[in-house]
């Protein structure tokens, strides 16, 4: 019953999202594209930060690397964009997997700081790589329409939510939750925790890179400081925490809420968006330690205290 209701709700939200381009104006489509992008990014962050319990402060590295790689392969190597994008996503996924192996040995704050450093180091490497523009911006051909990019970002956001949903309802997802609860015990029941964590990190990287490659073409101009901007990671984290870490809908809800708040704040002042971010963080820490949707997984049979994916409070 609850499951059916959640499905209907998800379908309704998707229907509304699909109707935005034909029914509204370019400005709203633009804002919607950004929200969808952040929903995808936050959803990716949620896999490692929410489900696995490893709060990454460096996920922007995947977004930035995806964007820069796709841009360079298309502009400098003249690959068709779809191929450049696919290669960039794959390359970033492998990059995340390989870096996850050493980084995920660290725990808690050490992991967070190491991933923060990873993002800065990736920026430094990109900035000094000639193929990737050596720190200069890159102009991509202007193609498509606002609606096309909106739908592309929306598709990635849906994919992100779908992956999370499938994970949560699989033993692999339970593996990640077990690691989050107690890694020593997870190992003691035969779970290869290093592999499980690294693959979650890689999946997180793939989703970040997917958003990045669409972003590059959408903006048609990218430069490293913009696509490696640390506040992008902070937004992923705050949105996920605000909506509900470890849930399917949490990152989406967080992205939409922060998106709306940012737009409202911009009406007041151009610089007010960072104020929204700051207030968002404070609100989450003080009032919503578990996020709006809380973290109480929906059960798979058995007694539960009437929880669903969409309760008002956790």
């Amino acid at each position: 019953m609850k499951k059916k209701r959640d499905m209907l709700l998800a379908a309704g939200i998707l229907l509304i999202a699909l109707g935005i381009p034909p029914l509204t104006n370019d400005y709203i489509v633009q804002v919607g594209t950004e929200m969808a992008m952040y929903a995808a990014l936050a959803g990716g962050w949620n896999l490692i930060g929410g489900l696995t319990g490893y709060p990454s402060f460096g996920n922007v590295a995947f977004f930035g690397l995806g964007a820069m790689l796709a841009g360079a392969l298309s502009v400098n190597s003249h690959w068709p964009y779809w191929l450049a994008a696919a290669a960039a996503v794959l390359g970033t996924g492998i990059f995340a997997l390989l870096l996850g192996l050493p980084l995920l040995r660290l725990k808690g704050h050490y992991f967070s700081i190491a991933t923060l450093a990873l993002a800065q180091a990736t920026l430094a490497v990109v900035t000094n790589t000639k193929f990737l523009g050596a720190g200069m911006g890159m102009s991509l051909p202007i193609v498509g329409s606002p609606a096309v990019f909106y739908y592309a970002m929306l598709a990635i956001a849906v994919l992100s939510a779908l992956i999370t949903y499938l994970l949560i309802h699989s033993e692999y997802g339970n593996t990640l939750l077990a690691i989050k609860s107690d890694e020593v015990a997870a190992q003691a029941i035969g779970i290869n925790t290093v592999l499980a964590k690294s693959s979650a990190f890689a999946l997180s990287g793939v989703l970040g890179a997917m958003a990045g490659v669409v972003y590059a073409l959408w903006q048609s101009y990218i430069d490293p400081p913009t696509v490696f901007e640390p506040s992008i990671t902070v937004l992923m984290l705050v949105m996920t925490m605000m909506g509900g870490a470890g849930t399917v809908a949490g990152p989406v809800l967080g992205a939409v809420l922060i998106g709306i708040l940012t737009q409202l704040a911009m009406e007041v002042s151009q610089n007010a968006s960072s104020l929204v971010l700051g207030l968002g963080i404070i609100a989450v820490v003080l009032f919503l330690p578990k996020g709006i949707l809380g973290f109480r997984r929906p059960g798979k049979g058995g007694k539960r205290r009437g929880q669903s994916n969409f309760p008002l409070r956790g």
């Binding site: 033993e171 339970n174 593996t175 939750l177 077990a178 989050k180 609860s181 107690d182 020593v184 015990a185 997870a186 190992q187 003691a188 029941i189 035969g190 779970i191 290869n192 925790t193 470890g246 973290f295 109480r296 997984r297 059960g299 798979k300 049979g301 058995g302 007694k303 539960r304």
Partner: protein, 252 residues
């Protein structure tokens, strides 16, 4: 040759020497009680055998295979399961999911997986709580769950670190009966327990740790009567409790 061989095992924590030159072997199908006063190094020994911690010195062989450098998940998959004295459960999973995940890692799938989980829930009398999130479990239930989860690995060797602490007398008798059933199934066990009643009831053999040294090893009745054991561990409390016919009371 036993299924587990421990040779010259030692462990230091910084400058603190917690285990020193421990050697013993466990014969297949036997139950060995591991006793010793608080801080003797019992839990540390279990952690070393299960690979949750690395020995400073010495070697461990499981089915003749060196495991002292193996990751604990690999050791678990070889058929060595353990419980934790300070319970470690997966809070964000339901009880059923906790057990199922363990059975899943050894390759059970589909209806066989569910049937095995049902059997273990039943065995540990947790069936009616199967859907409860583990963050809501009482301590005795957490201990039961740890046992069920360990059994889900279909272990050849089971290391139990004070699974019965905190049980009431009725629960205790049930737990003893359960361990005896497991023993009849041929599961080799190393059981840490402060309650002498349990140790005397289920063990074929008892080994005693004291200040990181193995000071006695033999038949249960033989060991508890050794003077050095009585002095080191059992001391006056045992003598007193023996007089009362209850064995050493639980201080755990």
């Amino acid at each position: 040759m036993g299924i587990l061989e421990v040779k010259g095992l030692g462990k230091d924590f910084g400058g603190l020497r917690v285990l020193e030159n421990i050697s013993f072997s466990l014969a297949e199908g036997t139950v060995t009680g591991l006793i010793g006063p608080n801080g003797a190094g019992k839990s540390t020994l279990v952690n070393l055998i299960a690979g949750s911690d690395r020995p400073t010195r010495g070697e461990i062989y499981f089915f003749s295979r060196p495991v002292h450098n193996l990751a604990s998940w690999r050791i678990a998959r070889l058929g060595l399961a353990r419980t934790f004295q300070i319970t470690r459960i997966f809070r964000d999973l339901t009880l059923r999911e906790n057990i199922r995940l363990a059975a899943w890692t050894i390759g059970l799938r589909g209806s066989r997986l569910e049937a095995e989980v049902d059997r273990l829930l039943d065995l540990t009398e947790l069936s009616d709580k199967a859907g409860v999130l583990c963050s809501d479990l009482t301590l005795p239930d957490q201990k039961r769950l740890q046992l069920a989860r360990a059994l889900a690995l279909q272990p050849k060797l089971l290391l139990l670190d004070e699974v019965m602490a905190g049980l009431n007398p009725v629960e205790l008798d049930k737990a003893i009966a359960l361990l005896n059933r497991l023993r009849l199934q041929g599961i080799t066990m190393l059981v840490i327990e402060h309650l002498m009643k349990v140790i005397m009831n289920i063990s074929d053999r008892v080994i005693v740790l004291h200040q990181g040294q193995l000071i006695a090893d033999g038949q249960p009745t033989e060991v508890v009567n050794m003077s050095q054991v009585q002095e080191a561990y059992l001391g006056s409390r045992y003598v007193k409790h023996k007089a009362e016919g209850t064995g050493l009371g639980g201080d755990a």
